[in-house]
């Protein structure tokens, strides 16, 4: 069933039903895009509410109880529904099979099922709003989560179902990478985005099941009172934290590894130069993925785990720093003697490098156990992970959207406004989160509805920055919508990139390639 001329995956069939039942990985990618952008808008609104509330000392626009729910929803939505599916399930779904030279992912139905898992899980989670909401924070720590209001169980079940979405996507990507590579596409010829997604998929498959069982036990805790995590019945709440972070630390890399993959693509394309140290970057993805399973205890340095465990976790955490450093240095080295053009995707990639470097070094500061005792659960941590998650992952998502937009929709975005959105997001981001490092050093704990007057000036700056980021993302949304309808028609390869997805037409036909590509060289042959 190869496509007729002029037909592509978008216009091959029409009607909402054809989209909701599609098995085409590209269409499913677009479904993910819509879902993730919607969730991002909701989570972002909650973020704006948080920063507005924290604009001044004392209650501003809500009560403490409402604040805690807003904070919980912001965290849970952004983690489970935006950043985790963001790059793999949206950009990855669209790009991975094309970069491998495949016609689709290995299991198209499972792929669609995984989208429905996300939607159903998210609906269940949002439904908790009608059952008094949730105020546990996205971490669901026991015993607080056992004793608080009933909405918690819906949120927990929602996260459980979304977990399946993540597992199924990961499973699909692993099998696709192993079984559906184009002739000649050896592992060492795969683009770095594929390497990153493959490492991510390993994490999704190996870590998420433990989250599933943890959340099931938490539900059982509330419904059946099993007492496994309830100190009143002999259970150990610290064990819950072990189980939770066994998933949630690798989850941090589920969020950042694909972003690193996107950045590898962007840096090499817009430097018009082969990537520096391909193997080192590829292997460091797998290395980060593997080591990430051994470090979860650094989220628990002051939780009451044993001192010996804490020190060991601190040591292994240092080891994760090494492959991360390799990546950052190799990206910078790629720029050397390059021919760098500053199209909007590249601006986001450079922004990523800037912010991720700061996020990375502050991560090392937090990994030093003696210093972390002071910084743990303060705004320093909040600033650090926003530098990595927003400054890293969201910058990469934005860069990735602008980069692959011509391929997805056959149109270019408005370059000028895309750059404006970058400037607003980049500047706003630093204004928002840099002061939070200082707040953390000053000792302001996180998840605070109210704070001492001494913290007010920096909180004000932070809130102003947040509104700037919000504006930046609105501009970004406008750029995307404008590009969809009125953008200039793009060629097959507007950026002069070398990976396989650029060899087919834009937008690609149903089966991606009219002729099965055969690979004879590495992915970044700029000679």
């Amino acid at each position: 069933m190869s496509s007729a001329p002029g037909k592509n995956y978008i216009n091959e069939k029409s009607g909402l039903w054809s989209w909701l039942t599609t098995l085409d990985h590209k269409r499913i990618g677009i479904l993910y895009m819509i879902a993730v952008m919607t969730f991002f808008a909701i989570g972002g609104t909650f973020a704006m509410l948080i920063r507005t509330e924290l604009f001044k000392v004392g209650p501003t626009i809500m009560t403490a109880h409402q604040y805690n729910q807003v904070m919980t929803f912001h965290g849970a939505i952004m983690v489970f529904m935006v950043i985790i599916p963001g790059i793999p399930a949206f950009l990855g779904n669209f790009i991975l099979p094309m970069q491998l030279g495949a016609k689709d992912v290995a299991f198209p139905r499972v792929n669609l099922l995984s989208w429905y898992c996300l939607i159903i899980g998210a609906s269940i989670a949002f439904f908790s709003l009608f059952y008094n909401g949730v105020d546990t924070g996205w971490t669901f720590y026991t015993p607080y989560s056992i004793t608080t209001q009933n909405g918690t169980i819906l949120m927990v079940l929602g996260a459980f179902v979304i977990g399946f979405s993540s597992i199924l996507t990961g499973l699909n990507f692993i099998v696709t990478t192993h079984k559906l590579r184009a002739p000649g596409m050896s592992f060492w010829r795969m683009p770095l985005f594929v390497w990153a997604l493959y490492s991510t998929a390993l994490l999704q498959v190996l870590a998420t099941p433990v989250l599933a069982i943890t959340l099931l036990l938490l539900s059982a805790e509330r419904l059946l009172g099993v007492g496994i995590f309830d100190p009143k019945l002999g259970g150990d709440p610290v064990l819950f934290q072990h189980f939770f972070w066994f998933y949630s630390h690798p989850a941090v890399y589920i969020m950042i590894l694909p972003a690193m993959g996107v950045v590898s693509e962007l840096i090499t394309t817009f430097s018009h130069k082969t990537i520096f140290g391909y193997k080192a970057i590829a292997l460091s993805s797998v290395g980060i993925a593997a080591v990430s399973f051994f470090v979860w205890g650094h989220h628990m340095f002051v939780s009451g785990q044993s001192e010996i465990a804490g020190i060991l976790f601190s040591f292994i955490t240092m080891l994760v720093g090494v492959p991360t450093a390799i990546k950052v240095f190799n990206w910078t080295a790629t720029l050397y003697k390059g021919s760098i053009s500053f199209d909007s995707p590249m601006l986001f990639a450079l922004g990523f490098l800037f912010l991720f470097t700061i996020g990375g070094v502050t991560g090392i500061i937090l990994a030093v156990i003696g210093v972390d005792v002071h910084f743990h659960d303060t705004y320093f941590v909040v600033a650090h992970f926003h530098y990595v998650m927003v400054g890293g992952t969201l910058m990469a998502i934005m860069g990735g959207i602008y980069y692959w937009f011509p391929k997805m929709f056959g149109r270019m975005v408005n370059e000028f406004w895309a750059r404006i959105s970058f400037v607003l997001i980049f500047v706003g981001f630093n204004v928002t989160f840099f002061p939070q490092f200082i707040l953390g050093a000053m000792g302001m704990p996180r998840r605070y509805f109210d704070y001492l007057p001494a913290y007010e000036p920096l909180n004000r700056i932070s809130s102003i920055g947040a509104w700037t980021i919000g504006t930046g993302f609105l501009v970004g949304l406008a750029v995307i919508i404008h590009g969809l309808t009125k953008g200039e028609i793009a060629g097959d390869n507007p950026w002069g990139a070398k990976t396989l997805e650029w060899t087919t037409s834009s937008p690609p036909p149903h089966e991606n390639f009219l002729v099965q590509p055969v690979v004879t060289a590495g992915p970044y042959e700029y000679r």
Partner: protein
């Protein structure tokens, strides 16, 4: 792995068929081991009770994996996948247990 996908389906065009009597032998062995583990549980070996029970269970699991699940005859990658799962499970167990075993000031209130 130089040829991408095409190396995937040259080596297994004809699937190995395990002879009937091997299935029956494995089944008999599993039955005997089940009876053995029940029998062993009636005798008190002290702390070794659990170890013996787990050892027998692991032998049974090995039989099921190798023959019923064809791991012995199939591509090694499947064993690698399964082993990876077990390995990371051990990681979870190791660190949780390390924490609980080395807490110096565990004075339970209840």
């Amino acid at each position: 792995m130089a040829h991408g996908q095409h190396d995937n389906h040259e080596d297994a065009q004809h699937h190995h068929i395990i002879p009937f009597n091997i299935y029956i032998k494995v089944f008999s062995a599993l039955m005997c081991l089940t009876i053995l583990t029940v029998f062993a549980a009636q005798i008190n070996f002290g702390a070794w009770n659990t170890v013996i029970a787990m050892l027998i269970a692991s032998i049974k699991a090995g039989l099921v994996l190798s023959f019923f699940m064809h791991l012995k005859y199939d591509q090694k990658i499947y064993a690698v996948i399964f082993g990876t799962g077990l390995f990371f499970l051990l990681v979870l167990f190791f660190f949780c247990n390390l924490d609980l075993m080395t807490r110096l000031n565990v004075d339970g209130i209840i």
